[in-house]
């Protein structure tokens, strides 16, 4: 066996357990699940029959799907921008290792550990019409009663809850930048802003790629925070696709709801892969 073959066999040996786990617990169940998207499986029938693209045709005819898609995309974009911006600002503020910074890093990471449902219910109470926020500020804003802006409010709560993860990834990225680069920039008289713009941000590109893509995927798959804060309301203005899927499943339309799940997966892929490729092209080596 050549060295190259031995190396390949070694790599395969390391990969195999992970591949088996992914295949058994993710890939195969999902493939079997998505096969059901092409059936009429429902709570009302004894049999499951192959119906081709009937579920998808019905989906396209229903207005609720377009509403769900629009809401989900708006939600995901707001979360992606807000969560990354907040995470990045926090990372620059708390970049250097110190006890004070370690304390604040822990504080900003704390919301990540809270249950999304609990966070949603807490904010629902805080943002109630006669809740603590309005009373403290002496204002009368219906934060959760607007068919236009409530989706943004809920997305910002999501960003608040998970910005700690982005912060940590950005801090790790900043700390991986070679110190001599920053030092030579300082020696050359570069300002703080110039250093960030010309050195830190370009070298942070892998972290940016990771954070943007994972945030986007997470936001597309949201359910719990929205469920707790608005239950999809007012009206259906915050009814993200997963809530619509759950609603259809609860009504016993199993095949139909699975077809929506498949559509959501395709949507995530359609948005995430181009984003991933675009961001990867921007990455540079130190």
């Amino acid at each position: 066996m050549t060295t190259s073959l031995r190396a390949r066999a070694g790599t395969a040996g390391f990969l195999l357990p992970a591949l088996v786990v992914v295949a058994v617990f993710y890939l195969v169940p999902n493939l079997l699940n998505f096969a059901l998207a092409f059936t009429d499986w429902s709570a009302y029938k004894d049999t499951i029959a192959f119906t081709g693209l009937a579920n998808f045709r019905e989906l396209l005819q229903e207005g609720a799907l377009s509403t769900g898609l629009r809401v989900t995309v708006i939600y995901a974009v707001v979360v992606m921008i807000a969560q990354n911006l907040a995470g990045l600002l926090l990372a620059f503020a708390l970049e250097k290792p110190s006890r004070v910074h370690a304390f604040f890093r822990a504080m900003f990471f704390l919301p990540v550990l809270i249950s999304p449902l609990a966070a949603g219910y807490v904010f629902k109470a805080l943002l109630a019409d006669d809740g603590p926020l309005n009373r403290a500020a002496g204002i009368e804003v219906s934060w959760l009663g607007s068919t236009t802006w409530t989706i943004v409010v809920v997305a910002l709560v999501n960003a608040w809850k998970f910005m700690g993860v982005n912060m940590l990834v950005y801090i790790a990225g900043l700390n991986a930048i070679p110190g001599e680069l920053l030092e030579s920039a300082r020696t050359d008289g570069a300002s703080r802003w110039r250093t960030i713009r010309s050195i830190q941000l370009p070298l942070l590109a892998p972290a940016i790629t990771f954070n943007f893509v994972t945030t986007l995927i997470g936001a597309f798959n949201t359910f719990d925070i929205v469920f707790a804060m608005t239950n999809g309301g007012p009206g259906d203005s915050t009814q993200v696709l997963n809530m619509f899927i759950q609603q259809q499943y609860a009504q016993g339309y199993y095949g139909y709801s699975i077809s929506m799940g498949l559509l959501l997966l395709l949507l995530v892929c359609a948005v995430a892969f181009p984003l991933l490729l675009t961001l990867r092209r921007r990455e540079v080596d130190a």
């Binding site: 499986w41 009302y44 029938k45 004894d46 049999t47 499951i48 203005s237």
Partner: protein
């Protein structure tokens, strides 16, 4: 690519030939109730909203028979959570589930549940439950231990000396109360589900007069003027400022709180709210301050919304099924009076006495139901979609009453078609 598609097709075909895990075909007669139950453990699926009576009933049964009961509690929305597990083919020994026809249909009861028609306890059911609760295609599949929840108008006796009995009176009462500075009506648009109740109440007259039968037979549609007019009436009450100012975001908890505090004159609610009021203010204060009135568009007709019933799935395990049958016998016989006393509710079976702790308002609701009420919300043949969401859109101005009616009809047609109802 071709191989992938072929694999998918193969998987689909295999699944299709496997059949639905819900399906099960058995035809045994109702099992004899067992007498020696030592060593038997019965699994009971139930909602997390069941009150203390069930816990004491289970304990009494365990003490009397030596059997063990293992409750499996489903969180809200328990109906869909329970159906999700049901869809996997898992079966409990007993389940305390919704008794509406459309929910029963999803269980395919003719194959999956024991038919209880003809059992002694079915004949003893009050409030017409034997003919309306857990009934599908003329067969009875459930034992209702609780009286049904009745839709109606809870009112504050000080703020509303003469409660309205129809829509015209409701509108004028609203104007009078508004002038006094109090909030006439409270609905919880934030939680959404409470907003269905007033339309349901307003539909009662038309549904009782035959609209429901026509809907079930596809001889009428949800866009019927009676349905639309009730939705228009609700919207008009919103426009006239009869509801709480935070209607869009109000919650069920706040609805209770404001009503108990005397800040709200009337709330459209089910009698399920009674136990919460008993806990918060006690029966004496309730009797002093709170009244209950049946109300529909033109008459004071009560409609019961829904009720739990105990159903017995076919598990294929004779010993377990005999123990489950023993539980039904005990629950409707030797153990029932204690259940009623702990629940502090009127009995749903004849031959038992109503505890003294049942508030007068709740008793008024049961009396209205027994005298001239209807159980129409139980008897829809199919589903009409997420009605609370449609109502929320109406309240927020993103749907008109006509659009809500059209949404109800679209969901109804889809559900009826999926269920394979004749005439659709």
């Amino acid at each position: 690519m071709k191989r992938t598609l072929l694999s998918l097709l193969l998987a689909t075909t295999l699944l299709a030939s496997c059949g639905n895990p819900m399906a099960k075909t058995e035809s045994q007669s109702f099992p004899q109730a067992a007498t020696d139950l030592n060593g038997v453990t019965l699994t009971v699926w139930q909602s997390n909203t069941l009150q203390a009576g069930y816990k004491s009933l289970f304990a009494d049964f365990e003490k009397a028979t030596g059997a063990k009961i293992r409750p499996e509690i489903f969180p809200d929305p328990y109906e869909s959570n329970l159906l999700t597990k049901w869809a996997t083919g898992t079966r409990p020994d007993l389940m305390i589930f919704q008794s509406t026809a459309s929910f029963m249909r999803r269980l395919d009861p003719a194959k999956n549940l024991y038919d209880l028609t003809g059992q002694d306890f079915v004949a003893k059911q009050r409030f017409g439950l034997a003919k309306t609760a857990a009934v599908l295609d003329g067969k009875n599949y459930g034992l209702s231990l609780e009286p049904p929840s009745v839709f109606g108008l809870w009112y504050n006796k000080q703020l509303v000396p003469k409660p309205p009995t129809n829509l015209t009176e409701l509108v004028s009462t609203c104007k009078t109360i508004k002038r006094s500075g109090a909030t006439p009506l409270y609905d919880a648009g934030g939680d959404q589900w409470t907003t269905q109740i007033l339309p349901f109440m307003l539909w009662t007259d038309a549904m009782k007069a035959g609209l429901q039968d026509k809907l079930n037979d596809n001889q009428a549609q949800w866009t019927d003027p009676a349905v639309v007019d009730a939705l228009k009436a609700y919207k008009s009450l919103v426009t006239e400022g009869c509801f709480n100012s935070n209607l869009k975001t109000g919650t069920y908890a706040e609805q209770q709180e404001k009503f108990v505090a005397g800040q709200v004159a009337m709330i459209p609610q089910g009698t399920w709210i009674s136990s919460d009021f008993v806990k918060s203010v006690g029966v004496a204060t309730m009797n002093q301050n709170m009244g209950w009135q049946a109300l529909s568009t033109t008459s004071p007709t009560a409609a019961y919304s829904t009720t739990f019933s105990v159903q017995m799935p076919r598990t294929g395990n004779a010993k377990q099924e005999q123990a489950a049958a023993a539980f039904l016998k005990f629950a409707s016989g030797a153990g029932y009076q204690h259940f009623v006393d702990v629940q502090k509710q009127a009995p749903a079976l004849t031959g038992f006495t109503t505890p003294s702790e049942v508030p007068a308002a709740t008793q008024a609701a049961y009396a209205a139901l027994e005298s001239d009420g209807t159980s129409y919300p139980q008897l829809f043949a199919a589903d009409f979609g997420p009605f609370p969401t449609y109502m929320s859109k109406l309240i927020n101005g993103s749907s008109t009453p006509e659009q809500v009616a059209a949404d109800l009809q679209a969901a109804w047609a889809k559900s009826a078609k999926t269920a394979g109802l004749t005439g659709f």
